[in-house]
Symmetry: none
Subunit: 240 residues, 2 copies
DNA sequence: CGGAGTGTAGTA
DNA sequence: TACTACACTCCG
């Protein structure tokens, strides 16, 4: 029986956390976690822990298995629309076969050292560049040309095309629950050290001012476009 | 733990089917179905079942939850677009409050006796009449006027308006997977005894002839309307 | 360590 | 939104 003693990290002093790896049976390789209270009791589950600690301590954000408080629990619920999911690099060959994903296996020594900080997987910084050269087309194969950006929308990052910037903005609009405002640091700062200075939760554009007039002008344009769309739809329906 | 043992009905002999009702937690009230194989394994899902049975047995028509073979399975997979769902009669008052819908409860004795024959609910014969007087409107509250029908489309049924016929046709087009051809019996026969002579799977129109020329003319009209729609959409996008 | 019981990501 | 399929917990 392999045991690893860790500091209790966040629990009251005197508590110990222990992991035991199962070494045989169907569940071989799985680890069981338990806690040792100051008075020597062995706690084997979260309900048992809260029974012992009483109502005074709120364990709702406490992850029994990892022993850490998980504040990001709430941020996780993101609207999931398959058409909005960011592209994932595909391998060409053998892994098209089904692959079983194993979770919660004991982590390797190297990995274990990285365990601090947020649990969410790191985001690739300039993922937009993987989309380079891809284009949408309509059902008669005509390529739909990309949009132009207003002059006051400025990209921030190394060698980003207009297309990249658009991808960045649309991804931010669809995937983020917080306001989309652009990068706080200026262009030069970010270019010098993107890894440190870029805000991955924001699209790669500099922050910009939108006036009430800009908004009003846009509203008019939208109303006109809607009218035209509406008429075209009506004609479509009357023909069918 | 409430358990009901049923005969395996269609599965190889020696298999047992079990239902367990969840009695606590967020998913309280849900029933889990599983199967016990002759060798004592517990099967918890359809994929797991087919993994165990191997390729030799085709489970595509087998409904894991009910344990029965469903031959009408194919007819059932209907494109589900909320804008195409038939209207449901609404009560005016107290039930506007939220009401909890309970599914998958063990059926009452009375209901159980009805279990033979197709599970689909019966269709109301002239449901279109419930729509009388309702009208679509666009977002500036202009009423969108109904369409006209070509002269060779003839309604079949008591006091159906043009509007009713259109509703009938569009519902048939959206909800049926079989060809939409209209009523086989003639107008007089149907009017005499709708309950017997009408074909509920078809819209309430007489069968009619469409020539190749009709089709070609229509194709041209559609292509033109598509072009206009496409242009309006482009303009819409460029404004946004 | 097993497994009944429940949670929940992914998908239709 | 609802459900399937399976991961995971908790306690024997």
């Amino acid at each position: 029986m392999e045991k690893r003693r860790l500091e209790s990290g966040g629990l009251p002093p005197g508590w110990k956390r222990e992991e035991v790896v199962r070494k045989s049976g169907l569940s071989s390789g799985r680890t069981d976690v338990y806690y040792l209270s100051p008075d020597g009791r062995k706690i084997r589950s979260k309900p048992q822990l809260s029974r012992i600690l009483g109502d005074s301590i709120d364990l709702s954000a406490f992850d029994f298995r990892t022993g850490r408080i998980n504040h990001s629990q709430l941020r996780k619920r993101i609207r999931h629309d398959s058409s909005l999911v960011l592209p994932i690099r595909q391998t060409a060959s053998i892994f098209k076969q089904p692959v079983t994903v194993i979770r919660n296996r004991p982590e390797s020594k190297t990995k274990t050292d990285l365990k601090h900080g947020p649990q969410d997987p790191p985001r690739q910084l300039f993922w937009e560049k993987r989309l380079q050269g891809l284009q949408a087309c309509d059902n008669s194969d005509d390529i739909i040309k990309a949009l132009d950006l207003p002059r006051n929308v400025q990209g921030v990052g190394p060698e980003l095309t207009t297309e990249n910037i658009l991808q960045s903005i649309s991804a931010a609009l669809h995937l983020s629950n917080s306001p989309v405002v652009g990068q706080n640091n200026n262009r030069a700062t970010v270019s010098k050290n993107p890894g440190v200075n870029i805000d991955a939760t924001q699209p790669h554009i500099q922050q910009m001012i939108v006036s009430d007039d800009d908004i009003r002008r846009q509203e008019v344009k939208v109303m006109e476009a809607r009218k035209k769309l509406q008429e075209a739809m009506k004609e479509m329906v009357s023909v069918l």
